[in-house]
Amino acid sequence: MDIQSLTAVRLGEKIKKKELSAVEAAQAAFAQIAACEKEYHCYVTVEEEKAMEQAEQVQKKIDGGELTGPLAGVPVAIKDNMCTKGTLTTCSSRILGNFVPTYTAEAVKCLEQAGAVILGKTNMDEFAMGSTTETSYYGVTRNPWNPQHVPGGSSGGSSAAVAAGECFYALGSDTGGSIRQPSSFCGVTGMKPTYGTISRYGLIAYGSSLDQIGPVAKDVADCAAILEVLAVHDPKDSTSVKREDTDFTSALTGDVKGMKVGIPRDYLGEGLDSQVKEAVLKAARSLESQGAQVEEFDLSLVEYAIPAYYVIASAEASSNLSRFDGIKYGYRTEDYEGLHNMYKKTRSEGFGEEVKRRIMLGSFVLSSGYYDAYYLKALRTKALIKQAFDKAFEKYDVILGPTAPSTAPKLGESLEDPLKMYLGDIYTVSVNLAGLPAMSVPYGIDSQGLPIGVQLIGDSFQEKKIFRAGYGLEQTREDQDRLAPVLRKEGR
């Protein structure tokens, strides 16, 4: 039996039926890590000993009837920007190279309570700033579909780990597309829920008003099951929302009849790779053939999303990252004279180029005299973008479009031109600005053999509609799209 190619839910079922134990599942994951990690480098930290111990405890609880959920015993990987008590948490930055939190992020706690076995911490762009996982201080992660290509970012380690079978599902975080874009590049399914659905407590902040944790998994059903576990109101997070409608798996009906699907014409124009466009239109035809009503419409304001996003996210980041100063934890420069020199050297040495660029950008847009012109204007743009979506959702149940303009670029291509890299976020950032839920679903493979993802966007709190449409799409997906070559028999 090929354990690694199982989805999280399938594996959970087998564990429940005692066909497999939590320990065997973890062993399978570590076997795959041993086989693949050298090539893909999905993890910053692998915690084999702890995980095996946890697997044994979880299995005892399953045997004792304490753990009965669908994810009990299923091994998971956590993006390295979520705090894990006693386990190194670096944000892929030098400045947190020695940071071991004394507490566990609420989302991770939710998983642990559901019986998850934590394998380790996945690589990412430093402080989640980047679209390729190349800004990590701990080395690049490679795309399991083709190691010459990036896995996307910033949750590149999580997406690659799922694609390579180095875990059965993973947590990512999404500030401007950081779950959806790498999921698209790695041929896995990743969802960013409505802002406020999953507690941010213990998630090391990048852009607090945009950050959301979400699942990265092999398919839509996994994402729905994982989100059910994670969507819990947390009084420790003031932006956490109390939700009643969290029975997400109930939306996995396979029936999309009567759903109204809109495709923003603005998303299909210049800059979009023709093969990605074809995949989106193919997905539209699939939904239509299943009884959905699909039409194109003008969303508007799309060109303003990127500037607004980079102003807001950088502004918040410049403040959020000011606590990394060498005083309390993390890296401190060796030689310094006095406080200010210590700050300066610590931060100059501790942060990478992209992080410093965004701290400077953010500090600039908040500085006196520029606040109104940049930050306030960006906030107003954000409000207008939300209005444009509100208008669209008066008419449509979900919006369908590309996740990213292209498939995964080659390693080293993106960092030379940061502006070009920022433009790659065009279809994802507006979702964060509007606080909406969205999911990237693999749908097709391009001529280079790289996976293409299509994006489904829903109105606030309408994740079920996304799951319904996404699950429908999966029914017509060609089988070879499902798994990376490394997990397919013919790929071995």
Binding site: I204, A205, G207, S238, R323
Partner: protein, 478 residues
Amino acid sequence: MAREYETVIGLEVHVELATKTKIFCGCSTEFGGEPNTHTCPVCTGMPGSLPVLNKQVVEYAMAVGLAANCQIHQKCKFDRKNYFYPDNPQNYQISQLYLPICYDGWVEIETEDGKKKVGIHEIHMEEDAGKLIHDDWEDCSLVDYNRSGVPLIEIVSEPDMRSAQEVIAYLDKLRTIIQYLGASDCKLQEGSMRADVNLSVREKGSDMFGTRTEMKNLNSFKAIARAIEGERERQIDLLEDGQAVVQETRRWDDNKECSYPMRSKEDAQDYRYFPDPDLVPVLISDEWIDDIKSRQPELRTEKLERYKKEFDIPQYDAEILTSSKKLADIFEASAAICKKPKKVSNWLMGEALRLLKEHNQEPEDLSFSPENLAKLIQLADGGTINNKVAKEVFEKIYSENIDPEQYVEEHGLKSVSDEGALRSVIEEIVAANPQSVEDYKGGKKKAIGFLVGQTMKAMKGKADPGAVNKILQEVLEK
């Protein structure tokens, strides 16, 4: 002719709120714990931690604002004030800039020229910073985050004050209001109330403001008064010299009675304020405001009137008793137990104030229980102890909060009014002092005083003076 100047003063007053827990986490606000024991990931700025607003802070801020006739921003927000300093673990302070909770209020003060209103520009909520301890021996600095996240309100006045006296009257007024609300103990020395003075001078009659300076490090009303006089003179000297006042922040050194520049406007930091995305706007409903209003306790003016009416306390005494919430609380609680408000008032106005002065303390420092004062009054009134003993016992109550009944019992301080015992002592005294007896009988009635004194001495002060006088007269008239 010398020009006449007018001083223009506005105040920024920080008040530490008396909540049990911090403003954005559940840590205790208690004073004096071991360093970094009242801390958690939130108030030490650990990555990933998030602030959650303490509702009590909003209620205290609203209560103070309403008592100071302020408007309430029913949708107020928190902003981040960004600056790097190790006492500030996140390197930003969560405060309110754009939409402070209270604005546009006033309080009334008494001045030499009668009543005057001082405008309140705004009141906002914010968090306190930790404390840095510089260790010169080890040549390093240590930081204690126990105070980090303790809730503060900052009360910003309009530039409406014109003299040190007005400033003191304003501060006193604020302090009384806040103490009465129970929102803070407002101790300047301990830093639970801190005032920064913004001061400028201008020629009398001008309606333009002069360039102002901000004075920090003022730890007592006296220091504030001295700093105002000092800064007024410094600015006038500059102007008379044809020099300009520089807009800057200055630090007052009360020992040397002069100030030093801390930073000028040019190197003022850009705090890059922006709304804190980790906190949601505070929405304050009409019902919530009404609820706070209905729960406002009796403030000083009302209490003063009630004391006069209900307890027949004279104006002056009522003013003193209500000048401090603590004093008023002790008064009311003691009076309720012993049902002798006038006696309680006398003890507080007399002995308690005398001891406070002697110990250089504030009424807020009173730490004895009203029960013990009430018991003492019962003992003295019932004749169980005499006045002199009562005063001694009160000192013990004041300093150690002893139970007077137990104390009198243990130390054998009860008055001796037993006729037989007294009479035999008196007879001995009379026999031993024939000269005084002769003087008395010869018409020097004052001589009896000496004999009373001798008797009290022999009784070690515990005799009932009334009984001594009566028996002594009987013995002498024989």
